[in-house]
């Protein structure tokens, strides 16, 4: 039973009672899983993957303490989900953490609609005014199943005035069955608050992830999303920033390294609605073997949004003839006093540089590795959590070693 049938079947046994959720579900049924005909999914196809047998929100297998320990980053503050259920959360002064069901879910496309209709698991983090958290909060969603499983999360983070927080989020699947996660996180930033949200996506060959992050920013708020897409069968990230007040800043920083048949798609959207704001976006992509990538960065500058600084760069390194990237900047600018720059590059390693290094005695593989690290360094240096930079570098090294040898 393909995914759509599985969802319909799930609907029969889990009927929807309220209007909001059933509207969302109807929207999903009418639109279905997006295909290449949809402009936003032009280079991204789930067609084959969703034809696999799936179950929806299956119960899950028991996860041992050992498996859990191996999966987390061993940080102080952990929110742990096992097979969809929150089993652990930290106690932090000025921060309330609860499990979450969205009572009034909104949606904008098929996946967010499906999520709106049925996601009942997730976390809510609420940071009170003037609370600044030094340690990051790690959120791990761990699951284990004996069948291909489709699972959804819906989360919400609210930062009150002048508060700050750092989050690390990761999804892990322990079994060798397809594990399809459709997740959505709403982030609301009040005046002068600051979030750094790290997506650690070192997914395995069985993980399919569609991840939506929607950030609404009040004046003088500051957001940074670091996306570390270091593996996974299929990943689609949608980041949307809405700048609803003046003097906001939205930052996106991405490192993508994919190997073999992995696929990764980063879609980003910044809506500059008010004046005197900034957005900075830097994505570095490295593609090995037959891996494929998509980057789509849309920047909207509305008529009222004067004195905007919007910077976007997507640089890609194709390390094999069979790898590919589709990169597309999309600028829509309706204000005149605006500084916008964007650039997308696609290239290979520089042969002259490789030869130069080799004449100094550095072997070919090391030279390639050094140049590849140099390529990604600008983005990696922006990571403030040392452990994440280490994981990224290790994962890069592992992938490069595998593919160069």
């Amino acid at each position: 039973m393909g995914l759509i049938e599985a969802i319909k079947k799930y609907n029969l046994t889990n009927p929807i009672s309220n209007v909001e959720n059933s509207d969302a579900f109807t929207y999903f049924l009418n639109n279905g899983i997006p295909t290449n005909k949809n402009e936003e999914w032009k280079y991204t196809s789930l067609k084959q993957l969703v034809s696999n047998d799936f179950s929806v929100e299956a119960e899950g297998e028991e996860i041992s303490q050992e498996e859990l320990d191996k999966s987390t980053l061993k940080t102080e503050n952990q929110i742990i989900f096992l097979n969809g259920e929150m089993v652990q959360k930290p106690e932090i002064d000025g921060v309330s953490i609860t499990s979450y069901t969205d009572k009034n879910p909104s949606f904008e496309d098929a996946f967010t609609a499906l999520n709106a209709a049925y996601a009942k698991n997730g976390y809510r983090i609420h940071v009170e005014k003037n609370v600044h958290l030094n340690d990051s909060i790690e959120v791990i969603f761990l699951s284990k199943n004996t069948t291909n499983n489709f699972i959804q999360y819906r989360n919400r983070i609210d930062l009150n005035e002048n508060s700050s927080i750092k989050i690390i989020e990761h999804f892990k699947c322990l079994d060798k069955n397809l594990c399809f996660t459709n997740s959505l996180t709403n982030i609301n930033l009040e005046k002068s608050s600051n979030i750094e949200f790290n997506k650690l996506q070192n997914h395995n060959d069985f993980q399919i992830v569609v991840d939506n992050t929607i950030i609404n920013q009040d004046e003088k708020s500051y957001s940074t999303i670091n996306t570390l897409l270091l593996g996974g069968k299929f990943t689609r990230n949608n980041l949307s920033f809405y700048q609803n007040g003046e003097y906001c800043e939205s930052n996106m920083n991405g490192v993508v390294i994919l190997n073999n048949n992995e696929f990764g798609d980063n879609h980003t959207y910044v809506d500059h609605k008010k004046a005197n704001c900034e957005s900075n976006e830097l994505y570095k992509g490295i593609y090995l073997n037959k891996s494929k990538g998509v980057f789509n960065g849309k920047i909207m500058v509305r008529p009222d949004a004067q004195k905007i600084n919007a910077f976007q760069a997507n640089n890609n390194l194709l390390l094999s003839e069979n790898s590919s990237i589709n990169s597309k900047p999309q600028l829509e600018i309706y204000a005149d006093d605006v500084k916008c720059s964007h650039g997308c590059t696609i290239g290979q390693l520089d042969d002259d540089a490789l030869f130069y290094m080799r004449t100094r005695g550095i072997n070919k593989d090391d030279a390639k590795t050094i140049l590849t690290f140099a390529f990604a360094s600008e983005a990696i240096e922006k990571l403030t959590i040392a452990e994440l930079a280490d994981i990224t570098k290790k994962e890069m090294e592992k992938k490069l070693n595998l593919s160069l040898n």
């Binding site: 030869f355 130069y356 290094m357 004449t359 005695g361 140049l371 140099a374 360094s377």
Partner: protein
């Protein structure tokens, strides 16, 4: 030390080197001169192992070993060094980390113990002093944003660190101001000993006042058309290349 015989090489269909013979012994300095496009850089690139050039025939024997069988990095480990006419910018890696990678790999390949970070830094400092280099330079990215002269000095710095047996200096003098030229030449002379050899490629007699060659060769159309002692360079400075290239063209067509 180095014996090149009947070396023919080119790129795709284009023939660049048309039969080079050259012998270099330990302790010697050879100068190679010749008009633009005569093949000087190609010769040095082929000796260093640039894979974009195809070797059609001939041999390059270095200390009894066929260099053409080796990768560029293996040649470096054996002691071949090329100072590039156009040094390449390597973004994202500092001069010190670059050299650390190069020296560790070389020591590993030669079966030597790794050098300690402290000793390595000490050695870098010493060589920087020799070449009168600015502080802070070690942490800059390799050649990135270096001026023309700084790049050339950086080449000699790497040579000083790697202590090659055979150094090929491809127009290391061009782009250097008079003072820098003296410093670099002095550095090269200090590194010279009975066991190593140097090939200097240059257009200017001036450099040869500082680095005194035992032999001077003239390269033209991918052939060495004349060899002589250091006075040949003076003669070329005075008369240009015409008088020998014409003769050669008659002979080779």
């Amino acid at each position: 030390m180095l014996k090149i015989e009947n070396l023919k090489a080119g790129i795709e269909e284009v023939k660049i080197l048309n039969g080079i013979d050259l012998s270099v012994n330990a302790g010697e300095v050879h100068a190679i001169m010749g008009p633009n496009g005569s093949g000087k850089s190609t010769l040095s690139a082929v000796i260093a192992g640039n894979e974009s050039y195809e070797v059609e025939s001939g041999s390059i024997i270095f200390e009894g070993e066929d260099l053409l069988e080796l990768d560029p990095d293996q040649r470096a480990h054996k002691g071949v060094f090329l100072s590039f006419q156009y040094p390449v910018e390597i973004p994202g890696i500092s001069v010190s980390n670059f050299l650390k990678a190069a020296i560790s790999e070389k020591r590993k390949q030669l079966g030597l113990d790794p050098i300690s970070a402290k000793d390595l830094l000490g050695k870098m400092r010493e060589k920087m002093e020799l070449l009168n280099m600015k502080k802070g330079y070690l942490s800059r990215n390799m050649n990135e944003g270096f001026s023309g002269g700084e790049k050339k000095r950086n080449e000699i710095f790497q040579m000083a660190m790697l202590e090659p047996k055979l150094a090929i200096l491809d127009e290391t003098d061009s782009g250097l101001d008079i003072d820098a030229l003296k410093i670099v030449a002095n550095g090269v002379n200090k590194l010279k000993n009975k066991k190593n050899a140097t090939i200097v490629i240059t257009h200017y007699q001036r450099l040869l006042d500082y680095i005194i060659p035992d032999y001077v060769h003239v390269l033209h159309n991918g052939r060495i058309i004349k060899s002589g002692g250091k006075e040949l360079a003076l003669e070329l400075e005075e008369k240009g290349y015409d008088w020998i290239t014409k003769e050669a063209d008659k002979k080779w067509g």
